[in-house]
């Protein structure tokens, strides 16, 4: 009775896009935008850069939709593209930040760091701890624990082996605990 929203599958939307229906791609963008955006923001640490990486991933995916072997797993395929874009954009942003710190006389020194963190909330402390992880450890931790992907899926998306991924996640957990303890947030 009444009106019921019918969820169209990824496979059906991909089929429509391949048939020339661009609007169907808009539905895929809306479906994955926020979830993938969360990954990009946490991975890169800068919202503007994250949006650039995400936009780039969506456009590249559209241009290469014929290469999506299993349209029913469009989301996983899109994750793979985004992970690569985040690596590229993240590396560029990291170089830019290093340059910025070197060129800025007022950059905070290490001794002031703890005080600074004290003034920030728990949310900022988590983001700062996350940003201190090595990119490959941060990537594995986010995909496993935040995006909730299985190790097999993460291996496909990142190209890394499962045992290496488990080690990265373990290191990330240990380092996050240490960084937050250093910041006296636990």
């Amino acid at each position: 009775m009444g009106i019921r929203k019918v969820e169209v599958s990824d496979a059906e939307l991909v089929r429509r896009v391949r048939g020339g229906d661009i609007a169907a791609y808009g539905a895929l963008v809306a479906r994955y935008r926020d979830r993938l955006g969360r990954y990009a923001v946490h991975m890169i640490g800068d919202r503007e850069d994250a949006e650039e990486a995400l936009q780039d991933a969506f456009v590249r995916a559209y241009r290469s939709l014929a290469r999506c072997d299993d349209p029913g797993r469009f989301g996983a395929w899109l994750y793979g593209i985004l992970v690569n874009r985040c690596r590229t954009v993240g590396a560029r942003a990291s170089r830019r930040r290093r340059l910025f710190v070197r060129n800025t006389e007022s950059a905070p020194d290490a001794s002031a760091d703890a005080d600074l963190v004290d003034r920030l909330g728990w949310d900022d402390a988590v983001n700062r701890a996350l940003a201190r992880l090595a990119p490959e450890n941060r990537e594995a931790f986010l995909l496993k624990h935040v995006e909730d992907l299985e190790y097999e899926e993460i291996a496909r998306v990142t190209g890394a082996g499962i045992s290496a991924l488990k080690m990265r996640v373990k290191r990330a957990r240990e380092q996050l605990q240490r960084f937050l303890k250093e910041a006296e947030y636990v």
């Binding site: 391949r18 969360r38 241009r63 014929a66 793979g80």
Partner: protein, 165 residues
């Protein structure tokens, strides 16, 4: 006890990081604008055709033959791509140069399962692959594999060197 406390810290971190992160309200429009502009230029019609089973594998040598017929600088030289696939019902060349659209560069069987097509290429570095029977991606066995591919399917790289470079 410490282990339990550590685990609680991580659980708290995960809860924090799982909170929704909303993208900018104009995000979808920006993506769709870029795609629409793309479509205006190239009109992609991505059709993969039917999904028949691929018969026995038949990947072997491929040839990349340049035809520098034209000496005019404003004309892109043609390059012939060849794949040996005796059991294939159809083969298409897809790559950066045709928006990975199989409809734009179908290959023709010349003889004994040798598939070929010719495309004009300006100087540059291109990723490409062969789409066999509309479903199977093959990289070119005679060309370097693309190591920096974003899409998880096999592809190859060809570099076209410009005049004077």
């Amino acid at each position: 006890m410490f282990e339990h406390a550590d685990s609680e810290i991580i659980e708290r971190v995960i809860r924090q990081l799982r909170k929704p992160v909303a993208m900018d309200s104009g995000f979808d429009a920006r993506v769709m604008r870029e795609i629409a502009a793309d479509t205006e230029v190239s009109r992609p019609r991505l059709r993969l055709g039917r999904w028949p089973w691929l018969a026995a594998a038949a990947l072997f040598a491929a040839l990349l033959i340049a035809h520098p017929w034209s000496q005019r600088a404003d004309v892109r030289p043609d390059y012939q791509f060849v794949l040996v696939a005796p059991n294939a019902a159809s083969v298409a060349l897809v790559g950066d140069f045709n928006d990975w659209n199989p409809a734009r560069s179908p290959m023709r069987a010349t003889r004994a399962g040798i598939w070929a097509t010719v495309v004009p290429l300006a100087p540059g570095r291109y990723h490409y692959a062969f789409l066999v029977n509309g479903v199977e991606w093959r990289r070119d066995p005679a060309a370097p594999a693309a190591l920096d591919d974003d899409f998880g399917s096999p592809s190859s790289v060809v570099t076209v060197v410009g005049k004077g470079s």
